[in-house]
């Protein structure tokens, strides 16, 4: 069936071993198996710059209409009309062109003052503290606020929307994600949309509601409510996590290259090229997938119609045929375009926004923290089907010494009677701390959970030996039901919370 074999070389997109550092594997693939076939998951991969460029540009052979994520392609997940990220012409052209006007570099650059303000708001409180977290404090905050501002979604409700977007793309280490029940429309946007219909503003949601275009039947019309919802979900999904990861890599890589960081500190005109080099060196999305719509060849070997193929941007960006000393991080290298924003018809619509966000973030970081070290022991690399990067990345400024970060006490109102448990839920935004106050009553219990995001009563509290379970309904803005199942061992809790349809997050807790 498949003629391509790649003896000795191996890469598995789901294996955390490669996740931590995929580059040695990419380098071997590129040299020893420029067309790689992975039999376990039945997909092809190319990693040379030239091949990635060719593949991403050839939208007749390598189509997006079956998805751009390996699991979506393999599981043959139906893709609703309007998910333009996964569309081919003519629909893609039509849908994308509706958005292009909004995302011009000119308009994005005009957002700079607001982006700066978001950075200042996130970073100012941390200046005295001697430590901060690239993800929790900045990466998970600023890009989200920017996209919220663009879309017109109020700040306080952004978190849960982000949470949904992330959960949807999350994989469990070691295995592909099951996309069979994937919902492309994010819950929680409906109420804003309906509100915007009545209260037009100058945001993107309003612009989309009013935009007229000619659809595939030749009719000139406005977008339907569902189409607008889809577009917004796509933008919220595409614009957060990626830029968040760029900020994480900025922290990690510059901490490891203090000389170059100092040069940038002293000469901020180097920031744009530093961001380009960061994007090349650690692309937040290391691969882009396509479905092979007709037989094709790479390096004289056949890739049959019906295959799934990954274009390894992370490999192409370090191709020595294109970049000298590619494994070296060097902000002074001559500008050779990287492929981090993809290439061709689907190339990143938000690249101008991502670039300005990255540049402003670095500038504002340097304004407050000329130097930092990263605490890799307490950092965590995330694993999703689309992005690779830090889920949490604590850092400390040298003067403060390597003080071990102490978990901040959650802001809870002084608790009434009952047991109290401090719990940490490992969410994609990083660990979320909460305090549960509970009162046992035979096989059941009542109580509430307080977290920095607010408090909620719990329901359906059950006790079965050392097993506890309860439910907490979060209502704003999306109605998500969190179902907890934990095991108590003395003064500790371990278990998980199921977050609606978005999968499980691990939970640990201790009695306080």
């Amino acid at each position: 069936m498949n003629a391509v074999t790649s003896p000795g070389v191996h890469w598995d997109p789901y294996d955390p071993k490669y996740f931590a550092n995929p580059y040695p594997a990419f380098n071997r693939l590129r040299e020893e198996a420029p067309l790689y076939y992975n039999a376990q998951y039945d997909f092809y991969a190319v990693s040379r710059y030239e091949d990635v460029e060719r593949g991403l540009f050839d939208r007749d052979t390598f189509i997006s209409g079956r998805g751009g994520i390996l699991e979506i392609i393999k599981q043959n997940v139906p893709i609703p009309k309007g998910v333009f990220i996964f569309e081919d012409p003519p629909l893609h052209t039509m849908h994308r062109s509706l958005l292009t006007r909004v995302f011009t570099p000119k308009k994005m650059n005009a957002l700079e003052p607001q982006i700066r303000a978001f950075c200042a708001k996130a970073l100012d409180p941390l200046v005295e503290g001697g430590r901060f977290n690239f993800i929790d404090d900045l990466g998970a905050e600023m890009p989200l606020r920017v996209i919220g501002m663009l879309l017109g979604i109020p700040e306080e409700d952004l978190k849960s929307v982000q949470h949904q977007a992330n959960e949807k793309l999350r994989t469990d280490p070691g295995k592909p994600k099951d996309f069979t029940d994937h919902q492309f429309v994010g819950e929680g946007f409906e109420e804003y949309l309906d509100w915007r219909v009545k209260h037009p503003s100058d945001d993107l949601m309003t612009e989309l509601l009013n935009a007229e275009f000619t659809d595939e039947t030749g009719t000139t019309r406005k977008l339907t409510r569902d189409e607008v919802l889809l577009f917004i979900s796509i933008l919220a999904g595409a614009g957060n996590e990626t830029t968040n990861r760029l900020i994480g890599w900025t922290g990690k890589v510059l901490a490891e290259h203090p000389d170059q960081r100092r040069q940038i500190y002293e000469n901020r005109a180097l920031i744009p090229q530093a961001i380009e080099e960061l994007l090349r060196f650690e692309p937040p999305g290391p691969s882009v997938g396509r479905y092979v719509a007709k037989d094709t060849e790479f390096h004289g070997q056949k890739v049959p119609e019906g295959s799934a193929i990954l274009f390894l941007v992370g490999g192409a960006n370090r191709d020595p045929r294109k970049f000298t000393s590619p494994d070296k991080f060097d902000i002074h290298r001559p500008r050779v375009p990287h492929l981090t924003f993809g290439y061709g018809f689907h190339s990143c619509l938000g690249n101008a926004l991502a670039r300005i966000e990255g540049r402003v973030a670095l500038d504002e970081l340097l304004n407050r923290f000329p130097e930092w070290d990263v605490d890799l022991e307490n950092a965590h690399l995330s694993s999703t089907s689309t992005v690779r990067g830090w889920e949490t990345l604590p850092a400390y400024t040298p003067k403060a010494g390597k003080a071990k970060p102490v978990a901040a006490a959650p802001v809870a109102e002084e608790a009434p009677s009952g047991e109290r448990w401090k719990m940490v839920l490992k969410t994609p935004m990083g660990p979320q701390e909460m305090v549960m106050t509970m009162n046992r009553d035979g096989n059941s219990f009542t109580g509430r959970i307080d977290s920095p995001m607010g408090g909620e009563d719990i329901s359906e509290g059950k006790i079965d030996g050392d097993k506890l379970s309860w439910v907490m309904n979060v209502t704003k803005p999306a109605k998500i039901k969190l179902s907890f199942e934990v095991t108590q061992e003395g003064d500790t809790l371990t278990g998980h919370a199921k977050l609606g349809m978005f999968g499980k997050s691990a939970l640990t807790g201790e009695r306080i």
Binding site: T104, P105, K106, P337, Y343, S347, C348
Partner: protein, 105 residues
């Protein structure tokens, strides 16, 4: 081969040989000419291959195409003689063409 000169905003000239049939954008990108980013590689969706065409060449290169017109909105400092380099196919009679670049793409 035809000779094309790309002049950056700061005035530096890059002279490259381009094979007819390719695009003005490819000529720059394949030769790593700075100042033409061409992020989308000629799909005409990014507007980062913006160049200015000198008056004596304008008529010969023709007008912007319809999709080009839509995409050029992406570019800054668009002038009457602005074109997207990926939408210009190099032909034999373009030997000696000189194009100028905007300050930013």
């Amino acid at each position: 081969m035809v000779k094309i000169t790309y002049i950056t905003f700061s005035g530096r000239a890059h002279v490259v040989d381009v094979t007819p049939g390719g695009t003005l954008m490819r000529g720059a990108r394949d030769n790593n000419v700075p100042g033409i980013d061409a992020d989308c590689g000629g799909a005409c969706v990014c507007g980062t291959c913006h160049v200015y065409i000198p008056p004596d060449w304008q008529a010969r290169l023709g007008k912007r195409t319809e999709i080009e017109e839509a995409t050029i909105e992406f570019s800054s400092d668009v002038k009457e003689n602005s074109r997207l380099a990926c939408q210009i196919t190099i032909s034999e009679d373009m030997d000696g063409l000189v194009v100028h670049m905007p300050e930013t793409q």
